[in-house]
């Protein structure tokens, strides 16, 4: 179903008018309420009165992850006194990324998530099993709000306890499953162990995201569970899940562009690319109140089309994520930056700055992260017991920083291949 029919099927000219109007009021709002944006505009000599329509957006400055980090915790916020909720995700180094929602923002989130659910084929009265993590991660609660808005019956399972998830599915027959694609595959192994036939599950629709996944993985999930597997896109800096979603045609993700305005730019020049070309996805949030962002650079590489979809929605569609402009990797829904690992290692005596992250997908379809670290020649310990303690110490510190389990592998000095120029920090063996 189309949840917000008026907006989602609006003709493009009217939509553009909405976008222009909203951009102007957004600029006025952030200039008057966010110290960060006021300073930025004043410094760059930007007069918001010069911005007449959405086409002028390219004259405005970008916002980056670094801006978020450097102004931690509340520097970018336009409203920090009436927050209903805050969420925190791991940052590149040092500071995490903080996002906040006013009550109105939660209302916006509920609306875009209801649109997301509708886009995937949900309708009021359906039962949804939410197996995204609840907590500081935005996945669980985002789906929860949207499902509440639409009038679904929610089973708030959160992630984990797989056997119980499967029992709940058998007992309550939810029609919709929301989780990471790797968890969907992982659950199928346990289902088989329990003597279940995954093809006979009650799930008809899957809404999978929070990590990149390929068309071949889609085929695998669809065949295994006998389910329609759709892709959801989002990031906490914009709102969480609910930024874009595939409809049942599975031909790109519909961006809710009346509230989250997408641009595709050349990551080097910052200039817009031609329609259909790959580039970095950039978002402006028109109506958010706590932490509106202007031209936020997601670092995700996608392409975009304005062609109207068969489903009737008029908003532009983005492709699945094709890559990143940085070396961030996503492991079991958690963002991991090599620099975070480096930060931990430089503070542990006995390790060298030479390390590698090896990401793989286990036979049970769960992502694994191995940290390869060279031991230092000098402070080398000559007792197995101490080396094991050393390995455990590195593992504990990395795990407590990332919030994801890792395996640490100690290597001989000089055994990681040196490269001229940029070091190869990540080896991703997953076929995604």
């Amino acid at each position: 179903m189309i949840w917000n029919e008026k907006i989602e099927t609006m003709n493009l000219e009217d939509l553009k008018e909405v976008q222009s109007k909203r951009l102007k009021s957004m600029l006025d709002y952030i200039y008057n309420n966010s110290t960060f944006y006021k300073n930025k505009f004043d410094k760059e000599g930007i007069n918001i009165e010069d911005i007449k329509s959405i086409d002028d957006i390219t004259k405005l400055p970008f916002t980056t992850k670094e801006d978020m980090r450097d102004n931690y915790p509340f520097g970018i916020f336009s409203n920090k006194s009436k927050l209903a909720e805050i969420h925190v995700s791991s940052g590149t180094t040092g500071n995490p990324t903080l996002v906040g929602y006013t009550k109105d923002d939660i209302g916006l989130w509920s609306d875009v998530m209801a649109r997301t659910l509708g886009c995937a084929g949900a309708k009021p009265g359906d039962v949804i099993q939410i197996a995204y993590g609840y907590g500081l991660f935005t996945g669980g609660l985002g789906f929860h709000y949207g499902a509440l808005e639409m009038g679904l019956t929610i089973i708030p399972c959160s992630a984990g306890m797989t056997k119980r998830q499967l029992k709940i599915m058998e007992d309550f027959k939810p029609r919709i499953l929301a989780c990471t694609p790797s968890y969907a595959m992982y659950m199928s192994e346990d289902a088989k162990d329990m003597g279940m036939d995954p093809r006979k599950s009650s799930w008809e629709i899957g809404i999978f995201g929070a990590e990149p996944w390929s068309e071949s993985m889609r085929t695998q999930i669809e065949n295994t569970w006998n389910i329609l597997a759709t892709d959801v896109y989002g990031l906490s800096e914009i709102i969480g899940p609910g930024v874009a979603q595939e409809c049942t045609n599975k031909e790109g993700l519909h961006v809710f562009s009346d509230v989250f305005y997408p641009e595709i730019i050349n990551p080097t020049t910052g200039q817009p690319v031609k329609e259909g070309e790959d580039g970095e996805l950039v978002f402006t949030t028109f109506t958010k109140k706590a932490i509106p962002v202007l031209r936020y650079r997601t670092r995700d590489i996608v392409s975009m089309t304005n062609k109207q979809c068969k489903c009737g929605r008029t908003s532009p569609r983005i492709s699945k994520i094709k890559g990143r402009t940085d070396d961030m990797i996503v492991v079991r829904g958690i963002n991991v930056f090599p620099s975070q690992i480096e930060h931990v290692l430089v503070n542990i005596e006995g390790t060298t700055p030479h390390y590698q992250l090896v990401v793989d997908r286990s036979s049970k379809n769960l992502d694994t992260l191995e940290i390869h670290v060279e031991v230092e020649q000098k402070i080398f310990s000559d007792e197995i017991k101490k080396l094991t303690q050393f390995e455990n110490k590195i593992q504990d510190e990395i795990e407590s920083m990332l919030g994801v389990s890792v395996k640490v592998k100690l290597l001989e000095p000089r055994s990681i291949e040196r490269s001229i120029g940029k070091a190869v920090r990540v080896i991703d063996k997953r076929n995604i």
Binding site: V375, E376, Q377, F380, L410, L411, E412, S415
Partner: protein
Amino acid sequence: MAKELNVFIDNKPGRLKAITGLLKEKKINLRALTIQVREDFGLIKTIVDKPNEAYMTISDKGFACALKEILAILIDDSPGGLDDILDIFAENNININDSYAFIIDSGNKAVYCVEVVDIEKVKALLEKNGFKLLDDQDLYGL
């Protein structure tokens, strides 16, 4: 006191050979060798005739290695030879971190190498009980 050379190596084919190759080049002879293996790495422990030279050679090649003092105790190569020593360890509540033994003269003499925490104290204790502790020269003069 006897010196043991410890080398950290990846647990994969050819790594031990990388070390023995270096020793061969320098004409360094091995008296004993043992490897402790973990899933990903191993720790070579070896007694050689020229420990300092071996250490320099291996560390120059970038290996993580260390020279370490251990107790090398001369024992009889006969039933109960080891047990007599372990009596003393047990009675005095001494924990053994690692140990290995090798024969020097079959049916006559063997050497028991042992790693403990308080090496000086244990050395004194063993000598008081009449055991002979070997140093590098002793080990190769046997």
